[in-house]
């Protein structure tokens, strides 16, 4: 049933599953009830009138958290808006998201922050806002970081654009340190990247496309790590795509630098080979890389060098993606396929289901300094139900975003979201 964000039933009874609480790391086999948006004991709901969810074989856990989404509001609501973005998030099992500020106008003032938080307040998914580091994301003058913090931002980023000027980034790190929130720098040396649209290597050469070298990412991450160490500020590295970057993060983390990092489902599951045939839906920044990079990212998720999974959900219209490889925009949607891809790849890599859930819950919460909602009687409901063993093929009918730009259609996954429930709405597949 393609029904999302419908009004939460008065009472829900979830039976047959086991509950995993990432806040405590504990699992228990138990039924659980929801009454007026609050968790209750199973016998506190009326069995005959309650909506029942059969969670046999499933894990009931904290709603997933995606700290990197592009919801395109304000400015490009034809691609996505808060409502459609929230719908896609919930269908993907996410109950909280952090919106990147590269909108039009960018989220670089407290006014825009407040208006978005207000608009998002009633949605079934918690909308968090990341403020721009610099005015209009131009990388030159700092935006009103303190004002935006007062308005409620959870982090700062010029995502989509790197902060090229080291002094500007250092100043931002110092501001953010005192506020206790992270700076997220989209790390790509724009001169090394140049016109690069795909990973630089044998494939870019074969396709005749300008390549984006791994050093473009790694060299800027290296600079950022040095500055984070020197300022003792918190740096969060988004969408790590290269083995080189993984190595650097591992090294500096080991030295006690306060760095966290995220990987996207596409960088952990796909390689540059997806671009053979010039598929513009696989054009993304940073680009899909070589198999050895993909393996390094998986290994970094396994050993904790990378703290969490974030989708970098980046919707674009079909028209724009039907451009040629140079003129098509960068980015792919990711909310509704994230669990499928991550569970499939990471379970094969040896991670337990609970560990993968941590990468989607306690991991990102720690990056953003968020509290998890306890899974206990009396707490507001914020749950996702995942069947880790369900095999499915990702098809057009699984897309809940307003856009459809993804190279993953037709892929087979193991692990699927059955339902996601918050006190303001729910998604249920059956």
């Amino acid at each position: 049933m393609r029904d999302v964000s419908r009004t939460l039933p008065e009472e829900i009874l979830i039976t047959g599953g086991s509950i995993y609480d990432p806040a405590t790391g504990k699992s228990r086999k138990s039924d659980i009830g929801v009454k007026q948006g609050v968790l209750v004991a199973p016998d506190a709901v009326q069995t005959d009138s309650a909506t029942s969810i059969d969670a046999t074989g499933c894990i009931i856990t904290h709603g997933l958290i995606d700290i990197h989404v592009h919801f395109r509001e304000p400015g490009r609501e034809d691609k996505e808006n808060l409502q459609t973005g929230a719908r896609a998030a919930l269908a993907g099992g996410f109950t909280r998201v952090c919106m990147m500020p590269n909108t039009n106008p960018p989220i670089d003032s407290p006014e825009v922050v407040r208006s978005l938080l207000e608009k998002g307040a009633d949605l079934p998914v918690q909308i968090n806002v990341i403020g721009a580091i610099t005015r209009e994301q131009k990388g030159v003058e700092l935006a009103e970081l303190l004002e935006m913090y007062a308005a409620g931002v959870v982090a700062f980023s010029d995502d989509g654009m790197p902060v090229e000027n080291g002094q500007v980034l250092r100043n931002a790190l110092l501001y953010a340190r005192d506020l206790g929130i992270p700076i997220i720098n989209h790390a790509e040396d724009t001169h090394l990247r140049a016109d690069g649209v795909v990973n630089q290597g044998a494939l870019s050469t074969r396709l005749g496309l300008p390549g984006n070298p791994v050093e473009a990412e790694a060299s800027m991450i290296h600079r950022d790590l040095l500055l984070a160490g020197e300022t003792d500020a918190r740096l969060h590295v988004p969408h790590v795509s290269t083995a080189l970057a993984v190595e650097l993060i591992r090294k500096f983390k080991g030295q006690g630098v306060r760095v966290t990092a995220e990987a996207t489902p596409h960088h952990l599951g796909l390689t540059e080979d997806t671009l053979t045939g010039f598929n513009t839906n696989a054009k993304v920044a940073p680009p899909l890389r070589a198999e050895k990079d993909r393996q390094a990212i998986v290994a970094a998720l396994v050993d904790g060098t990378i703290d969490c999974i974030a989708t970098d959900h980046a919707p674009h219209t079909v028209d724009e993606k039907e451009h040629d490889m140079i003129n098509a925009p960068f980015g792919m949607i990711g909310l509704d396929s994230a669990v499928g891809m991550a569970f499939t790849v990471l379970r094969q890599a040896g991670l337990a289901v609970e560990q993968i859930i941590d990468l989607f819950t306690s991991g990102p919460a720690a990056v953003m300094g968020m509290e998890l909602t306890p899974i206990e009687e009396g707490a507001p409901v914020e749950l996702v139900i995942i069947n880790p063993d369900e095999n499915w093929t990702y098809g057009p009918e699984d897309i809940y975003s307003r856009s459809r730009n993804t190279p993953m259609l037709g892929m087979n996954f193991t692990g699927r979201v059955s339902a996601a429930i918050t006190s303001k709405g729910w998604f249920c597949r059956s």
Binding site: G201, L207, G208, P213, G277, T280, D319, E322, H323, I326
Partner: protein, 315 residues
């Protein structure tokens, strides 16, 4: 003529095209070469077939060569030139596709500034797609005419040693030559300033050597690429003087090597930069043969991609 058929449906590039297909195209190219030397140069082969030449980038030579090939085969020809700016302005490939549908074209010859454009187009249209150059990706008919010229000169391609000299990274002809020559069993060495050699290119099966004299010593033939003026002074090529002295094919340089070396150039030539006039106009250069072979090989490509289709429709 050409009772053999090729297995490809479009000619978007030479990557992955079999030796047999290339052999058939070249053989028929020689036949058309003879036609072109007759008093009456026209054959009725493609009567009633609609071909559109779609040029999103200026390339007078390639366009004229295709138009001539199409007319010699009696096809109905429409040519359409759009400024590259219309590509930037947001005329998507899809718009192009819809226009082709509306015009009911049997074949599209497309020149486009962006790599992959011809392959993308072939996914969207029923018409036969012939790539007349897609940016720095492929330019298959150029490589076929180069191979036809080499075959004509040497009588063989298998084992032939070919150097490609110049700005390989920004060349629209290098990749197709590499794929085509390797498919035919030739050996290829690339030569140019290190930053103008595409990364990891040796994985394609070619050698790379930055010393032009060593390459000349090794090669049976060299294909000298045009140095684009717009690469000068933007940090890619510091000066004409330096490029010429390090990589230019001058008479003086060639005379130091006591050997017969055949010289190709895809044109247009920057005389005095990548090649000297004395070399370009000498007997060892087969640049003018390349021009005539260009028409012949394009006739062959059009013939093989469109003739079977016409016969099937008639049947």
């Amino acid at each position: 003529m050409g009772d053999k058929t090729i297995s490809i449906k479009h000619l978007v590039g030479l990557e992955g095209v079999s030796r047999d297909d290339i052999r058939i195209i070249l053989d028929t190219g020689f036949t058309f070469r003879e036609v072109l030397e007759r008093p009456i140069k026209k054959v009725p082969t493609l009567t009633g077939i609609n071909v559109v030449n779609l040029f999103f980038e200026n390339s007078t030579r390639t366009r004229i060569s295709f138009e001539l090939a199409e007319k010699r085969l009696s096809a109905d020809v429409t040519s359409f030139s759009a400024a590259a700016s219309s590509v930037k302005k947001g005329e998507t490939l899809k718009d192009t596709v819809q226009n082709i549908h509306a015009m009911k074209m049997d074949a599209v010859v497309m020149r486009h500034p962006v790599p992959g454009a011809a392959i993308q187009l072939s996914h969207f249209v029923d018409a036969v797609v012939i790539n007349a150059g897609d940016g720095t990706h492929e330019h298959p008919t150029q490589a076929l005419l180069d191979m036809l010229s080499l075959q004509e000169k040497f009588g063989y391609l298998e084992g032939l040693k070919v150097g490609i000299i110049g700005d390989i990274s920004h060349s629209r002809v290098a990749l197709s030559n590499i794929f085509g020559l390797l498919a035919m069993g030739a050996k290829v060495t690339l030569c140019g300033p290190g930053h103008l050699i595409p990364p990891h290119v040796s994985e394609l099966g070619v050698e790379v050597n930055g010393d032009v004299d060593e390459v000349i010593e090794w090669a049976d033939a060299v294909n000298v690429l045009r140095i684009q003026r717009e690469r000068m002074g933007v940090g890619l090529i510091p000066s004409v003087r330096e490029y010429r002295s390090q990589f230019g094919i001058s008479l003086e340089r060639l005379s130091r090597h006591k050997k017969e070396l055949i010289v190709l150039h895809p044109g247009p030539i920057n005389r005095g930069v990548e090649i000297d006039s004395e070399v370009a106009d000498s007997d060892q250069a087969i640049i003018l043969d390349q021009v005539l072979n260009g028409v012949a090989v394009r006739m062959s490509v059009l013939f093989h991609l469109l003739k079977p289709r016409e016969e099937m429709e008639a049947a």
